[in-house]
Assembly symmetry: C2
């Protein structure tokens, strides 16, 4: 049976929370084996757990807040707009991508593609 919308929503909410305040391993636990990550779209696709862990380890030490803005779910796919604010001393860096994820029957992420560009970054 395909993942329910509730299961997909739970994974998305856990993902956003983990990106902001969790560890790389917390995030990895939401991904299925064999999952792929393309962030942003147009950059090389990460196809191994090691390369996906490496991607999230970069942001693990940062002080971040995240917020889900809009989530849409259809079949095994979610698209969501979320806001990630990184604090760096007195400054903040805000990125608010639209991520597109596909899920397996257990509600684990099998692919993630993030749609955003440098122009969407806001420094404050």
């Amino acid at each position: 049976m395909p993942a329910s919308p509730e299961s997909i929503r739970n994974t998305v909410e856990a993902y956003i929370k983990s990106v902001a305040t969790g560890t790389a391993d917390d995030i990895l636990a939401l991904y299925a084996d064999g999952a792929t990550v393309e962030d942003p779209v147009g950059t090389p696709v990460r196809t191994t757990r090691e390369s996906i862990r490496e991607f999230y380890q970069v942001i693990e030490p940062l002080e971040q807040e995240a917020e889900l803005v809009t989530l849409r779910i259809a079949a095994n796919t979610a698209a969501f707009h979320f806001r990630l604010i990184t604090k760096m001393g007195d400054q903040t860096l805000e990125i608010a991508p639209i991520d597109v994820m596909e899920f397996d029957d257990d509600g684990k992420i099998v692919s993630m593609r993030a749609v955003w560009s440098q122009e969407d970054m806001i420094t404050g």
Copy 2:
């Protein structure tokens, strides 16, 4: 050369305007030959111009307003949240999907996948 972000933005804005107030042929003109439409994700993919025209002809006679809420662009891909309000007598029906589109080098749409479900519909 891949389509520029400006070219992609222009196509998305023309798409939203055409969906609200244009004809099916206005919308078709934004699609490349061989384009595919999956709306919502999980339903059969439309792969012919006839089946894509048929899809948009259903909404052509409706009185609609549309508004772009959020647009993100990366490489040849756009993801955007937009609001489509249909007036039916005294009632309104609002759908606000997140659409994911890929574009060819001329900025024409090669694939459209709309992420939304019945639960996202708002009647007023």
